[in-house]
Point group: C2
Chain length 246, copies 2
Amino acid sequence: MTRWRLTVEFDGGPFMGWQRQDHGPSVQEALEQAIGRMTGETVAVHAAGRTDAGVHALAMTAHVDIDRDVTPHRLREGINALVRPDPVAVTAVEPVADDWHARFSCVGRRYLYRILNRRAPPALDAGRVWHIAQTVDSDAMAESATHLVGIHDFTTFRSVHCQSDSPVKTLDSLRVEQVGEEIHVRAAARSFLHHQVRSMVGCLALVGRGQWKPADVKAALEARDRAALGFNAPPHGLYFVEAIYP
Amino acid sequence: MTRWRLTVEFDGGPFMGWQRQDHGPSVQEALEQAIGRMTGETVAVHAAGRTDAGVHALAMTAHVDIDRDVTPHRLREGINALVRPDPVAVTAVEPVADDWHARFSCVGRRYLYRILNRRAPPALDAGRVWHIAQTVDSDAMAESATHLVGIHDFTTFRSVHCQSDSPVKTLDSLRVEQVGEEIHVRAAARSFLHHQVRSMVGCLALVGRGQWKPADVKAALEARDRAALGFNAPPHGLYFVEAIYP
């Protein structure tokens, strides 16, 4: 048996999310079926993080145990050939120690959220950005973001379905940058609560559109109450960028 | 009557090209129908350049004459609402002089060609890049490109269907740049022959993959013979970037 580390890019559009679901396609199932067809084995693919329906990944990290002897080259090429036409690509494979775990060994996760801020809807990036037609003040968003960085009880930014033991997390960074017509929000932490990034971006966007003041973000955080916000940015602007390991 | 300048972004994937065709959808027809529904007028939309089937535009420039009084804001919003679900977006509108012409007033055109150079196929950018799995030497491509810049008879890089009076064109620049996993080829000229950019990129890619030497590009150009090459890079990696006016 060899444990393989996989780096996976995917378009989240057609999937119910990373995790296998009874009611629709998932990235996990697409990969498990491709690897199963290639090896004849029933495999389980574990990822650094579970993404929501519609969320994309530039480089999700996952692992899978395979009994059959296979070279890294053939494994990557085989999965990519068999996973088609699903929009999933394995960009790198590497053998790892048997006790290495994509989720439990992970010490950092990075996300990118893309907002397209212009009047016209996206033609080339439909399904890849959150389109906000009203003027957004990215400086006000950046100022608000500073209130969220650090160790906090993020209950306000947590899904009611979140299974984390504690709502207390350390947000290492939350940066807002204007990039041409887009506003990019980059978040980094050891781990995130369910919906935390989309919820934080939704909150920053309220500030960017002038509906909230930056101080309202601080008040919402301190309220430790989901009812103080309850608004998520849509999934299709969100990208899992990178999982970090020691 | 007001002549309007339009800046248009489109995903070329579902279209037979810019120009109205009997046998399938075109960007021109999509815009003309949207404007026609909005104004009740039968309009003709003229573009700076005709793009092939599958070729995208970041910012094509076009113009259209409209009798009805309309504000720039309402014109742009109206077209964008009515052109859906076609992947076309008007990003800017501006009234221009009656003798201003998107094609004949244009003094420069810029294209970008995106090659994804990695083993794994694109998951997020499928239909947006030319995927080349073999290793490509972008330095050799850049060296070859210098042979094509300047005033030349570009017969080798011209479609047999090209309607240009002369095969002699001035290529102002042809730059090759490695951008992460992508190789970007940027071309600028007053005007291009039919298939010239895709043909030049196809030729550079032969060098990048080691099938040709940079000197072979010079020889192919000097042959002034379509049979010396006859290979076009696929359309879906090509973007019309910008039309330039005095």
